[in-house]
Symmetry: C2
Subunit: 219 residues, 2 copies
C-alpha cells in the first residue's frame, strides 16, 4: 500500500478531539491509517526491538518527517496501533443466555489473538516487562474493553437468575478469557499460521469450562 | 556477580549429555549459571530486542569469546535461560484433594509469573510472534511441564471419584493456569513490582474458579 508523500488535498481531515490545536494543514486520516497498518506489518517481521520509525515510514510510503509530525516516537506509534487494533472495536450483543453471550466473547477473543492483533498483543507483552508506558497501553487497549464485556455478560446472567452472584467479580475477565488468550500466546505456531476455523473451534471447546467456572451449566 | 575471566581451575566440570563431544577444557557450570543469570538481568533492563551478547558477557565478567564457546547466538542463550528458569523445576505433591493440588499449581504459577521468571516469559512471548524457534522454546520451558502437572492432578481427582471425567483434557492446562498467567501478563505493573504475598493472594482468589471449571466444588 504505497501512498504519495504529499497529497495535494488531505483526504479526510480528522477532528482532533482532546488534543491541543495544531498549526498547518488538517491531518490526513487515511495516511494515519496507512502508517498504523505499516506499524503492524513491521512489528510482524521484526518485533518491537527491531521496529524503526524509518522502516514504518518507508513501508507506508511517507517521509519520517511526516511520521514524526503525528507520533513523536516508536513507542507512541505502537500505542496508537494498539488503540486501533485492540479490543475496543468489538460489540457485545445480548443473546439471552450466558452460554450464548460467552460464546461471542470467546470467538472474538480467539479471532483477536490470531493474525495481526495477535502479533501486536505479543509485542506489547514482551515490552511491558520493562516499559510501564507500554504496559499501561496493553491494559487500556486489550484488557479494559474485554473485562468490561465479561462483567456485563455475567451481570445479566445473575439478573436473569441463571447463576448465583459471584465472589471476586474483578477477576472474571481473566477467568473467562484467560484460557483462550493463554492457548494462543503459548503455542509453537506463529499468529498467522492459526486459521480462523481452528481458532473458533478452540474457543468452542473452551466454552464449557468458562461456563462452569462462573457457575453455569453447559447444555 | 563478577567472575574472573579465566579461572585457573574449572569449578564444576559439567557432563555434556546429549551434545556432541567438545575439545579442550571441561565446561565451567558455575560460569554457565552466571551467564544465564546475567541474561535474565539484561533482559529485564533492555528486553530481547535490546539484549546483546556483549552486554551479557560484560555483566557476567567474562569475554564474549567465552560466551560464544557455550552458546552460538543470543537466541541460544535466551533459550538456555528459559530451560533453567522455566517450569521444569517445580514438584507437584499429592495433597489428597483436587482443591489442595490446584492450590499448589496456582501458587507456583503466580510465583513464576512475577520477578525474573515473569520477565523471561514476557520476553519470549514478545519474540515468539515472529520467531518459531523461540516459540518452541516457550512451549518446552513453560507450557509442557505445567500442563503435565495439571493433567496429573485432574487424573488423580477423577480416579478418587472427586470429579467426573472431563471432555478435552488437552485444554486443561490453559483452563487451570490461563487465568493466573493472563492476570500477570496483562497488568500495568512491572514483574518486579508484584510482591510474593499479593501474587499468592491472587492465586487463592482464582482457585474457586479453577476448581469449578474442572467440575469440582469449592469448599
Amino acid at each position: 500500500m504505497t501512498r504519495s508523500t504529499f497529497p495535494s488535498q488531505p483526504a479526510e481531515p480528522e477532528a482532533e478531539a482532546g488534543s491541543a490545536p495544531r498549526r498547518g494543514r488538517p491531518r490526513d486520516a487515511g495516511r494515519d491509517r496507512a502508517l498504523l497498518d505499516a506499524t503492524l506489518a513491521v512489528l510482524a517481521e521484526s518485533g518491537y526491538g527491531g521496529l524503526t520509525t524509518a522502516a514504518v515510514a518507508a513501508r507506508a510510503g511517507v517521509s519520517t518527517a511526516t511520521l514524526y509530525r503525528r507520533w513523536a516516537s516508536k513507542e507512541e506509534l505502537v500505542i496508537a496501533a494498539a488503540a486501533l487494533h485492540g479490543e475496543g472495536s468489538y460489540e457485545q450483543p445480548d443473546t439471552g443466555s450466558l452460554e450464548g453471550d460467552l460464546r461471542v466473547v470467546l470467538h472474538d477473543k480467539a479471532a483477536s489473538m490470531t493474525g495481526e492483533g495477535g502479533r501486536l498483543i505479543r509485542a506489547l507483552i514482551g515490552e511491558a516487562a520493562h516499559n510501564s508506558t507500554l504496559a499501561g497501553a496493553l491494559v487500556t487497549a486489550f484488557l479494559q474493553p474485554l473485562y468490561g464485556r465479561v462483567a456485563e455478560v455475567v451481570r445479566r446472567a445473575v439478573e436473569r437468575g441463571e447463576i448465583p452472584p459471584l465472589e471476586d467479580v474483578d477477576l472474571l475477565g481473566e477467568v473467562v478469557a484467560g484460557p483462550v488468550m493463554t492457548h494462543f500466546l503459548l503455542t509453537p505456531q506463529l499468529p498467522e499460521d492459526v486459521d480462523e476455523t481452528t481458532a473458533r473451534e478452540t474457543a468452542d471447546r473452551l466454552l464449557p469450562f468458562a461456563l462452569r467456572a462462573v457457575g453455569g451449566r453447559p447444555a
